[in-house]
């Protein structure tokens, strides 16, 4: 394969075009060659697939981030990991045109390679536009595991930049990690606060910007360092990508200075409405990516590949024990809380049945004061950040409720979806610290925000505002609430009085952390099933429990079942067993005892 006239990395378009011309040439002459390739692949994607996944070319593909943006060359192969933040609809483009007697294609590019000859024959094709942002609340260890070394393999044209930049970015990254590691371990409330502040600020600024019809707004929430990306998707059924899905896109990066100076000051009012939403996303800030291959990412995909554990039950049990003891230490020797926390970490929405979300398990740890929240709370959020890929935390105050923009809202002037704080990727962990809440008056915005939070908590749904109507989007967010007493604004599935016995202590090596991350990500995605006999036994058990305690209702049983599933998952088992059910009953008994104790 020496004589390839194109290079997959530096000239992917060459591959696209050559395969196209080859396919056109080989197609029967009596049909319109361009028409048959509309909305279809002619083998180019297969070629890339082969190159990336079979030949292992994936590692060489640079990913778009703040640092690589500076040296990335247009029309090269890049990749981008992000969340679908907004769908900008379809775009029609000249997919194929006849240059003289031969057909050429424009697929995967913004421009015609040559000036279109006047009055030439063209074919209109369509592609979908998505605005993708780095996943909100993505933790630093997620990016750390991405293959930075791959930059070394990038083409010669980029090498001049690469020397400096590559190293620089690596150093930066390492610093960042160290810092965050230390910071989290020794619990630095200042850093934490700042971060929170940044978070809230960036989101509110963001909305302001968009309202002002700012030019460079809408660059997404979360990590302001990493660029957002306008991804153009070809030939995929629309339902393939959903809002808030996390995807990896591999495709062609395009940048054209002609487009960059776009922004015409048209006085024609026609443009006001024909204007497409991409105007707000200047190519200089928001790179364009013509997607060749995309794949949906699971939490597992964010783990470093170096460490793969075997899902042997002994290994799993070992990791479970070490994680539990770590959590117990963090929580000041409160083992019950650690147990519940573990279950909470493993929860995910398995199904949305009518109004019920099956599988969610939100946890409300009560008994925090402002002081203990600053000690344990920060420890806890620190650990969560290190264990789970996407985490956010909110310090709930009256002011925050009244001013923050939690609800994602479509701005019909710009046609863009303005991300609210609650536009979160599936599987995000959200910690809400309620200890700083004061009494006072809620504005209408505050009431709306409280309602949104409550809906998210109870139904795992977030309402998106499309001005003339609201749409409910399914969410999958793990919610942990730290409060003084049982939170009534945020009614969680589980309320557990937190009773620490000692000051938090932590000792976790990076191997431990990696093992735990792997454990949580893997066990969380385990399917759960039930044997028919177990099904009946479980029903009997439930009836017996109900006879025993008349106050048991749907909610409790539902929760118990969820917890049973989770605890069996925590042991790496796919089938429910009676033993797990008993464990849950025991846990619940302990919890009830503690609740009673607190009430006394």
């Amino acid at each position: 394969m020496v004589g390839l006239p194109y290079d997959f990395l530096t000239n992917p378009l060459g591959a696209v075009r050559q395969t196209f011309e080859k396919s056109v040439a080989s197609s029967p002459t009596d049909v319109d060659p361009a028409a048959i390739f509309r909305g279809k692949d002619w083998g180019a994607v297969d070629l890339f697939h082969d190159f990336l996944f079979v030949k292992g070319g994936l590692a060489q593909v640079p990913s778009i981030d703040a640092s690589s943006m500076r040296w990335l060359q247009p029309n090269t192969l890049v990749r981008f990991r992000g969340m679908v933040q907004d769908m900008l609809g379809n775009e029609l483009y000249v997919g194929a045109f006849k240059d003289g007697s031969s057909w050429r294609t424009n697929k995967f590019s913004d421009f015609c390679p040559i000036q279109l000859p006047p009055a030439c024959e063209t074919q209109l094709w369509e592609r979908q536009l998505f605005h993708c942002v780095p996943v909100p609340g993505q933790n630093s260890w997620v990016t750390e595991t991405k293959s930075i070394p791959s930059t070394q393999n990038v083409s010669s044209s980029a090498s001049q930049h690469e020397g400096k930049r590559g190293r620089g970015s690596e150093d930066e990254d390492m610093n960042l990690n160290e810092e965050s590691d230390n910071g989290d371990l020794i619990s630095s409330p200042n850093a934490k606060k700042q971060k929170e502040h940044e978070n809230t600020c960036s989101s509110s600024c963001l909305s302001d910007d968009l309202m002002d019809h700012g030019n460079d707004s809408g660059l997404g929430s979360g990590d302001s360092n990493n660029p957002t990306c306008l991804v153009k998707i070809y030939d995929l059924p629309e339902s393939h990508l959903k809002l808030n899905d996390v995807f990896e896109f591999i495709g062609i990066y395009t940048f054209d200075p002609v487009l960059a100076v776009h922004k015409d000051d048209s006085d024609d009012p026609m443009f006001e409405l024909f204007e497409d939403p991409t105007v707000d996303l200047p190519p200089s800030k928001v790179p364009r990516l013509h997607c060749l291959i995309c794949r949906k990412l699971d939490t597992q995909d964010f783990l470093s590949n170096s460490l793969v554990f075997e899902s042997l039950s002994t290994v799993v049990r070992g990791i479970r024990e070490s994680l539990l003891s770590h959590l117990t230490a963090i929580l000041g020797n409160d083992e019950l809380a650690a147990q519940y926390l573990l279950l909470h970490f493993l929860s995910r929405v398995r199904a949305q049945v009518e109004v019920m979300s099956v599988g969610k398990l939100s946890l409300n740890l009560t008994g925090f004061t402002k002081e203990s929240a600053s000690i344990f709370g920060h420890q806890l959020t620190g650990v969560i950040q290190k264990l789970l890929p996407f985490t956010q935390d909110i310090t709930l105050t009256l002011d925050y409720l009244n001013t923050a923009t939690l609800q994602p809202r479509r701005n019909n002037k710009t046609g863009r979806l303005v991300a609210g704080v609650l536009q979160l990727a599936q599987g995000t962990h959200l910690t809400i610290n309620e200890t700083c809440m004061q009494s006072g008056t809620l504005s209408s915005n505050g009431i709306e925000n409280a309602r949104l939070l409550k809906n998210l908590l109870e139904l795992q749904k977030v309402e998106y505002d499309f001005e003339y109507y609201k749409l409910e989007m399914a969410a999958d967010v793990q919610l942990l609430i730290l409060s003084e007493a049982k939170s009534s604004i945020l009614p969680a599935d589980l309320v557990l009085p937190f009773s620490p016995g000692s000051v938090p202590a932590t000792n976790a090596t990076s191997e431990d952390l990696q093992a735990w991350r792997w454990y949580l990500a893997t066990m969380r995605s385990l399917p759960c099933s039930i044997e028919p006999e177990m099904n009946l036994t479980l029903q009997d058990e439930m009836v017996a429990s109900m006879q025993e305690d008349k106050s048991l209702g749907c909610a409790e049983l539902n929760r118990w079942l969820t917890m049973t599933e989770l605890i069996s998952a925590s042991f790496g088992e796919k089938n429910l067993s009676l033993e797990h059910w008993q464990m849950i009953k025991e846990l619940e008994r302990l919890r009830k005892d503690r609740l009673k104790e607190k009430a006394r």
Partner: protein, 847 residues
């Protein structure tokens, strides 16, 4: 059609040369230029071109290619020959066009002059003459089958001929609305052509119409535009794709933005600043006006002296609106799509943001220019729909029930023109109603996620369907609305039921008792701060007239607010007498309320009245009162357990129930409410009487000393309403015996729960009516008698007074039952009114 048929000159793809012009939105460029100028020619002076400019016609589809200029030209020629008077404006755009890429076409036209030769729409095998004839046939001979069936269709003109006449008489309406279904019914071939080649066929349509008009009245000058609506199929906005370009499409959506009205210059006049000479009107050429650089007057010839005279220019209105998908078309996890719609002339401002509309138009694309100054054309296109017709669709889900008010005026066009979609739906609904298990099926489909509570659901169903309101000649009226109260333990999904009902009901309003004030529920008068006018503002109950007003947390409502409900719930009006306004507003509302027991959990030892602190007067106005209690019962527990496990592990066993989906259910209910008005059959009436008497008797069982009222006149009204609702569910015009039986059952189930006297176990209407059960009353009477004896025994007239506590002790000694101090006090109070004793604080004195 293979694309190789294209001749290079006919294709109108964006090319470097013409791009700056082609991109301006009003430019009739290249191929399309011929088209729009042609349309303009047909529309002399009155209506400017409906074609939206910048018609870059990509040649993706054969149909998209520019039509041969031969077609329009020859048509024009024929037309002008026939009506030489009409084209008042010299608008032969072709002459003005500098030789461009379609100059060749013009030449071709000149050669192709013979009218007899078949003329084809360019790039197709559609013969212009054929289409012309087909349209003429359609316009002349199409008769509405519905009218024809009435028998008067023979002599009359066809449907559209009448429309044409009407337009001409009125001299106002300048558009002829044509139902595409009619076209399809009459000539499917014409319909197909019209949808595939709308520009060409519509042009011919317009010509034919003008032809007709001119034949009727040669002096009629206004241009009549054909507007097609109600296509056979409408496209989902997100499914519009390149193959739809240049085709006629119809999309439904909601207007979210409207641009300001854009004046679009059609022709401009210039004046020389030096000599004041006015130039001839200059026509728009490919979206721009070529400003003369020098005065044409031979005496002047001043350079750069021409200035635009605005009030001598001719403008056309143009507006762009944005249409957004309605929620029902958005797949899960998607955001709504939008599409731009270009409106012209009369259509401008015909929709407002927030309107739900159905747009019929032509889907078009135009190329994107990179910058105003740049010649480069991006390879992308912007798409929009050139609007031909806009129809506002229903705003509420229950349009049908809204028509209840106006259904006598069926000549009303909207009712008649209900599309086939609707007819299909009706058929489906009727089919459904014939199912033997429809009642159960409906019950199952009502809030399927809410578990058990089947009888409550049946009651709620009755409420949704409602009974017949009756107005007697004497002026007395009987409400048809059924009021329901749900009382129950917390966490028994009452609120969910309410929410569900709110969604289903036509004009449902959902309020919470805690946050509702009396005026908020009924109506209030306020003064406009600016004008000082008094304004009557409707509250929830008035707003939900003919709907269901759901009131959550009924018990938390203030006393005052509740008292307002008395009138609403029986008289169905809200009366206002305040600030100079005396009004009585209709509030024909079914009230669905739910309340929590006052001690948060229902205490079975107490009566309903004691459990919920509601006045009996109000309580009696509810037809059905359901107690939803968490009952411990192994059977239910088992089912619940099974349900829960199935929820988690998708057990195939329990998933086989059939539900009616929400839209169908809504349609079903509204159809029934609108069309079915059941009467009580004789047998049913007999049954009703028999059962009612039986029910009354039950309290008077022989041997029973006390007289318990188990049914009152209010119940018989409720029973009739329930029966009617049940008949409606079956789409039956007669209330049958079975309905009566079921309504008795429903009432009894509800009564058993709410009106059972716990000390005796019998149903006692007094509980609801007065709040005191008969057994309680007897107990009190006994106590009074005992007290009287005691007083007679112990106290002398005018003698010492006794303390209450002493008496209590005495009574307790004698009586087998425990008697409380309060009971003694009330008993003594009764005696005091009889004049037997005097009460002074705690002291009792015999008189």
């Amino acid at each position: 059609m293979a694309s190789s048929d294209f001749s290079p000159s006919g294709a109108s793809s964006p090319d470097g040369r013409s791009s700056p012009i082609a991109n301006t939105n009003s430019s009739p460029a290249l191929g399309p230029a011929g088209r729009s100028s042609r349309r303009r020619r047909r529309t002399p002076s009155t209506t400017p071109s409906p074609s939206p400019g910048a018609l870059l016609t990509p040649s993706a589809t054969p149909s998209a290619s520019g039509p041969p200029s031969s077609t329009p030209s020859s048509l024009r020629r024929r037309w002008t020959r026939r009506h030489p008077a009409t084209p008042s404006t010299p608008m032969s755009a072709d002459e003005n066009l500098p030789p461009s890429s379609d100059a060749g076409d013009d030449d071709a036209v000149d050669h192709d002059d013979a009218d007899s030769a078949p003329v084809f729409v360019w790039g197709t095998n559609i013969s212009v003459q054929d289409v012309n004839a087909a349209i003429l046939r359609f316009l002349r001979h199409f008769r509405d089958p519905r009218e024809a069936s009435r028998g008067n269709g023979l002599l009359d003109d066809g449907k559209y001929m009448r429309s044409v006449h009407r337009i001409m008489e009125l001299e106002g309406g300048e558009s002829l609305d044509i139902d595409a279904h009619d076209v399809f019914d009459y000539d499917p071939d014409l319909y197909t052509k019209m949808v595939r080649y709308p520009l060409e066929v519509l042009a011919i349509f317009d010509i034919v119409v003008m032809d007709l008009v001119a034949r009727i009245d040669p002096l009629f000058e206004k241009h009549i535009q054909t507007r097609i609506y109600n296509l056979k199929s409408s496209v989902c906005m997100r499914n519009l794709n390149p193959s739809d370009i240049e085709k006629m499409v119809s999309v439904k959506g909601m207007i979210i933005r409207c641009s300001s009205v854009i004046p679009d210059v059609k022709e401009a006049t210039f004046r020389c600043l030096v000599c004041g000479h006015y130039s001839d009107p200059i026509l728009v050429d490919r979206g721009r006006i070529n400003e003369p650089t020098r005065c044409v007057r031979q005496e002047c010839l001043a350079m750069n002296s021409m200035t635009l005279v605005h009030n001598r220019c001719r403008f056309a209105d143009k507006q762009i609106i944005k249409l957004q998908e309605t929620p029902d078309e958005i797949p899960e996890g998607g955001t709504p799509h939008t599409v731009s719609i270009l409106m012209h002339d009369k259509l401008v401002d015909s929709g407002k943001p927030g309107d739900r509309v159905e747009i019929t138009g032509i889907y078009r694309a135009m190329s994107v220019r990179v910058g105003q100054t740049q010649r480069t054309v991006k390879s992308t296109f912007k798409t929009y729909i050139d609007c031909l017709h806009i129809k506002k669709t229903d705003k509420s889900r229950l349009l049908l029930s809204d028509q209840m008010d106006c259904d006598n005026s069926t000549t009303n066009k909207t009712v008649e023109d209900e599309n086939a979609d609707y007819r299909d739906k009706i058929d489906k609904i009727k089919e459904l109603s014939k199912l033997p298990d429809i009642y159960d099926r409906l019950t199952r489909s009502l809030a399927p996620n809410i578990w058990e509570l089947d009888d409550v659901k049946r009651g709620l169903l009755c409420q949704l369907f409602g009974g017949n309101a009756l107005k007697l000649d004497s002026g007395a009226s009987f409400r048809g609305d059924i009021n329901i109260l749900l009382v129950g333990d917390p966490g028994t999904s009452k609120s969910q039921l309410l929410q569900y009902m709110h969604q289903l009901s036509p004009r449902g309003i959902y309020t919470s008792g805690r946050g509702s004030s009396a005026v908020g529920l009924t109506a209030y008068v306020s003064k406009d701060p600016e004008t000082g006018e008094t304004v009557l503002e409707s509250g929830a109950l008035v707003l939900s007239d003919r709907g269901i007003c759901c009131i959550d947390e009924f018990d938390k409502m203030s006393e005052n607010a509740r008292s307002m409900l008395h009138e609403v719930m029986e008289q169905q009006t809200v009366s206002i007498a305040k600030a100079g306004i005396i009004a009585s507003l209709n509030a024909r509302t079914s009230v669905l309320a739910c309340a929590n027991p006052s001690e948060s959990r229902y205490n079975p030892q107490l009566s309903v009245i004691d459990n919920i602190h509601l006045p009996p007067t109000l309580l009696s106005r509810f037809d059905l009162i359901y107690l939803i209690l968490d009952k411990a019962d192994e059977q239910t527990d088992r089912r619940l357990a099974k349900h829960m496990v199935a929820l988690h592990f998708a057990d195939p066993e329990t998933q086989v129930q059939e539900f009616i989906d929400l839209p169908t259910l809504v349609a079903y209910i509204s159809y029934a409410r609108k069309h079915i008005h059941p009467q009580i059959s004789d047998e049913a009436a007999e049954e009703l009487t028999r059962r009612y008497v039986e029910m009354r008797k039950r309290g008077n069982a022989p041997g029973s000393r006390k007289k318990v009222i188990t049914a009152t006149a209010r119940q018989i009204e409720s029973l009739i309403r329930l029966g009617e609702a049940l008949a409606r569910m079956r789409f039956s015009e007669w209330v049958e015996v079975q309905d009566i039986a079921e309504s008795f059952r429903l009432l009894e189930v509800a009564l058993q729960q709410s009106a059972t006297d716990h000390s005796t176990g019998t149903i006692d209407m007094d509980l609801i009516m007065t709040g005191i059960s008969a057994s309680e009353r007897i107990r009190r009477e006994n106590l009074v008698a005992a007290m009287r004896n005691l007083v007679m025994e112990k106290l002398q007239i005018g003698g010492h007074s006794a303390r209450l506590v002493e008496l209590l002790e005495e009574v307790n000694k004698q009586s087998s039952m425990e008697v409380h101090l309060n009971d003694v006090r009330t008993a003594l109070a009764t005696l005091a009114t009889e004049g037997v004793v005097l009460l002074h604080g705690d002291n009792v004195k015999r008189i």
